[in-house]
């Protein structure tokens, strides 16, 4: 029953209580008296009735007032308190009831508050434990990712849709090396979290391998599958697939796969060359040997043949033997070429190389060696086996010609070049002598090599020369070798951008299924390309051109600083001098860079399947759209503008410039007004805005676009 009706009922009961006893008394008196007394009674009653009614009404009013007051305090008070308690239960955990009203209600309120307090402590405890558990899971993931990134093989982990969840550094470098084209990311070998592996590997082959793995799993065999695939550039990759199990309740279902990828192009080419050599030596010799054997047998079997015939048979033998010798020589030349190609250079510490050479020389030639001025931190790219043999060969030549008492080694670096010097004391040698040594096949005692010293040097992309130190009365051979550092340098470059944990993985993508952009998905779940352009000026239709595009990706609410697009563009027109201080890009920097016709398709590929984000997007989009016709590339995906989103989140703020927003949201960044830096800043802004938008009930991309549109129109009207 509603409180209102109960109040009404109570009022009626009060009225009855106040009039009822009087009525009953009058009735009893009436019944207990005679007829004569009745008239007297009526008279008496009516003469006092007004006073009685007045008293009763007054009493009734007081009664109702008291009743109402009590009702308000106890019933309504408790009702409103229960509403507040509900609030505490749901929407606002931190809300507390203010104790008011009669003491009993206040007691109740305080007791409820205490209960809420106790609940909060428990909840906090639980969330703390969840956080700890999460952190430990996260740590394990990081450890796994770190482990993967150290592997020497290229490894890529995908979910069943072929989306990349994890890749290691080697995979990144390998596909980067495979990418061919004018820009850093073009060429179709785009690797990135959330990207499809099918843009790199043939889809049918991957799916076939997946099927094989499933069948082997079902049959209880070792679940793996191999295939060889050809890339667009003709490169050959050998791929091995093993399944990632789990992800379902039973834990034995395949939820993704790990691909180990090896570039075997070179091996295959080398094998083909070796096959050719082998073929030339066997098949090529058969015919000649056949002729010789038959001729010789005839000579032996028929000693009394005519002299003319004998001459002809001898002629056959001489002819074929000469042919075979030539063929053998030719094959050997090709063979040593193919050996040159086959041996890859490895990174080796310079002093280790010298130590190996010293050991060989002392063992083989009994010639003492020393070192001086060794740069012990210098790594070189070398084929240590052939290089040590070359040093041994030179030493033995020196020993034969000049009989030095000892040899010395010296190692120093000059920029990207390493100098390895072999020093001896003695008279000057002629350049002819050295030239002979350089060009003859190397041999030391019984050990020989099909290579010449020159071959060894060429294979290292190096040089060698002879030089004298007149004052010290000694001379040296200087080997120039490439210093091994490029990969490390590249890592440092990356670290500048991505501090902290590696971003090569995202296991949450295991559950990522949709392929195209779905506007009704949550903002925090989508993949974005955040970009910025630098231009020659502010008039896209007035002939101004893009000179730089910078972009980064956001996947699963995380900014991937390692997956960026950073490209200068030749505008094919002069820069405006007044704009140079703004973007810091000079004529020299853009000349000779690819033009927009080349860059835009590459950028388009980089953006595939993502929502675009830019600050003041209309400006950048205008530049892109003006090139649509010329390049045939259309940017049709949805575009979010952080300027408009800022206006949605903070409608009462005056400025929505990127700098102001960065200030407002407390984001600190190093540099600005470089396209990539600005894109990264914009990305940070967007990531901070997502929760703010969610608080306003803007959760999906569609809602964000609609809200942006409203502010946009509001601004235009204004």
């Amino acid at each position: 029953m509603k409180a209102k009706y109960r109040f009404l009922l109570a009022v009626i009961v009060l009225g009855l209580l106040m009039t009822g006893p009087f009525m009953v008394t009058v009735l009893l008196v009436w019944l207990g008296t005679s007829e004569d007394e009745h008239a007297e009674l009526v008279h008496l009653l009516f003469s006092h009735l007004p006073t009685g009614i007045a008293m009763t009404v007054a009493g009734f009013v007081v009664g109702v007032v008291v009743l109402r007051k009590l009702f308000k305090q106890y019933v309504d008070g408790l009702l409103s308190m229960s509403e507040k308690l509900r609030l505490m239960l749901g929407a606002n955990r931190n809300f507390r009831v203010t104790p008011e009203g009669p003491p009993e209600v206040q007691h109740l309120a305080r007791a409820a508050n205490d209960l809420a307090q106790q609940r909060d402590v428990l909840l906090d405890d639980v969330s703390e434990q969840i956080a700890v558990a999460k952190a430990s899971v996260e740590e394990e993931k990081n450890r796994l990712a770190a482990l993967m990134s150290e592997l020497a093989q290229a490894v890529v982990v995908c979910n069943l849709d072929g989306r990349i969840l994890l890749y290691n550094n080697r995979a990144r470098l390998q596909f980067k090396a495979l990418a061919q084209g004018p820009t850093s990311v073009s060429g179709g070998a785009l690797i990135g979290l959330g990207r499809s592996i099918f843009s790199i590997l043939e889809k049918n082959q991957v799916q076939h391998a997946e099927e094989v793995v499933r069948q082997r799993l079902a049959a209880g065999k070792t679940a793996l599958s191999n295939f060889i695939t050809t890339l667009r550039g003709g490169q050959l990759l050998r791929v091995q697939m093993v399944p990632v199990l789990g992800g379902s309740e039973r834990g034995d279902r395949m939820s993704g796969y790990v691909l180990t990828i090896e570039n075997i192009t070179r091996n295959v080419e080398e094998e083909a060359r070796r096959d050719q050599v082998l073929h030339a030596l066997t098949e090529g010799s058969r015919a000649s040997l056949g002729s010789i054997r038959a001729a010789v047998t005839n000579l032996i079997d028929y000693p009394d043949m005519e002299p003319e015939m004998r001459e002809r048979f001898l002629g056959v033998v001489g002819d074929e033997v000469a042919g075979m010798s030539q063929r053998l020589d030719r094959t050997m030349v090709e063979y040593s070429d193919s050996m040159k190609m086959r041996w890859p250079l490895e990174d080796i510490l310079g002093i280790d190389l010298i130590a190996a050479a010293q050991r060989r020389i002392e063992e083989k030639l009994r010639l003492p060696t020393k070192t001086e001025g060794l740069d012990d931190a210098l790594w070189v790219k070398a084929d240590s086996f052939s290089l040590v043999f070359a040093l041994l060969f030179l030493s033995s030549r020196l020993q034969d010609h000049y009989e030095p008492r000892e040899l010395r080694f010296r190692l120093s670096a000059e920029g990207k070049l390493a100098y390895l010097d072999l020093i001896w004391a003695g008279p000057a040698m002629s350049s002819e002598t050295f030239y002979t040594w350089e060009m003859e096949s190397m041999h030391v005692g019984a050990e020989t090599s099909p290579l010449t010293l020159r071959d060894v040097i060429d294979r290292h992309g190096g040089e060698i020369w002879y030089q004298r130190e007149k004052a010290a009365h000694r001379a040296y051979f200087r080997f120039v070798l490439p210093v091994a550092t490029p990969e490390i340098a590249e890592e440092q470059d990356d670290n500048k951008r991505g501090a902290g944990r590696p971003e090569y993985y995202d296991f949450d993508l295991f559950n990522y299924e949709d392929k195209s952009v779905d506007l009704d998905r949550k903002l925090s779940e989508l993949t974005y390309t955040v970009f910025d352009t630098e231009t020659t000026g502010l008039q896209p239709s007035g002939g101004d051109e893009i000179i730089q595009i910078g972009a980064a990706r956001i996947v699963n609410n995380r900014l991937l600083r390692q997956e960026v697009f950073d490209q200068l563009v030749d505008p094919e027109r002069p820069l405006r001098p007044e704009s140079i201080p703004i973007h810091g890009i000079t004529e020299d920097m853009v000349r000779g860079k690819p033009n927009i016709d080349l860059v835009l398709p590459a950028f388009h590929e980089f953006c595939a399947d993502t929502v675009l984000i830019a600050h003041n997007a209309a400006f950048d989009m205008r530049f892109l759209q003006l090139k649509e016709k010329r390049t045939g590339v259309r940017f049709a995906q949805p575009v979010l503008d952080t300027l408009l989103l800022s206006a949605v989140v903070h409608p009462n703020q005056e400025s929505h410039k990127l700098d102001s927003i960065l200030d407002r949201l407390g984001i600190e960044i190093d540099a600005r007004h470089n396209a990539l830096e600005d894109a990264l800043a914009t990305a940070e802004v967007f990531l901070r805005m997502v929760p703010l938008l969610e608080q306003m009930g803007i959760v999906t991309v569609r809602q964000a676009l609609e809200a942006s549109e409203k502010t946009y129109f509001a601004r235009v009207k204004y």
Binding site: T282, R286, S288, G290, R293, A294, A295, T297, N298, R312
Partner: protein, 122 residues
């Protein structure tokens, strides 16, 4: 009447020996240096046995063998393939195309003569 042997090879250095050998054994010998010439000589010279090289200009030994085996009138013609291709697969092909024997260079002349005699049953 002496059996007739047609030697088909484009390398004169082996032809000399083969011709010499077969003549010494009392066979009548003709020589062709490519596939087309071989087919023409089969028609005019009408040999009993062919010593057929595989690697030749114009028509390869395989093609000549195939063409001859397609002609039922020549069913009695013996074909010995004589080749520098030593792989099992090529040997299998030669025999599959109808060669009666497959001899890989370098070969023993004595064994070749024995084989020819055996095939011609002399």
């Amino acid at each position: 009447m002496a059996n007739k042997i047609l030697i088909v090879d484009d390398e004169p250095n082996i032809v000399i020996s083969l011709e010499f050998l077969m003549k010494k054994e009392g066979f009548a010998v003709a020589v062709a240096s490519d596939g087309d010439e071989a087919l023409a000589l089969v028609a005019s010279f009408n040999p009993d046995l062919l010593l057929l090289d595989v690697m030749m200009p114009k028509k390869s030994g395989f093609e000549v063998c195939e063409a001859l085996r397609a002609d039922p009138e020549r069913a009695g013609l013996k074909i010995v393939m004589l080749t520098a291709k030593g792989r099992d697969t090529e040997m299998a092909k030669g025999l599959a195309l109808g060669a009666d024997a497959y001899v890989t260079k370098p070969f023993s002349t004595k064994e070749l003569v024995d084989k020819v005699k055996e095939m011609l049953a002399v």
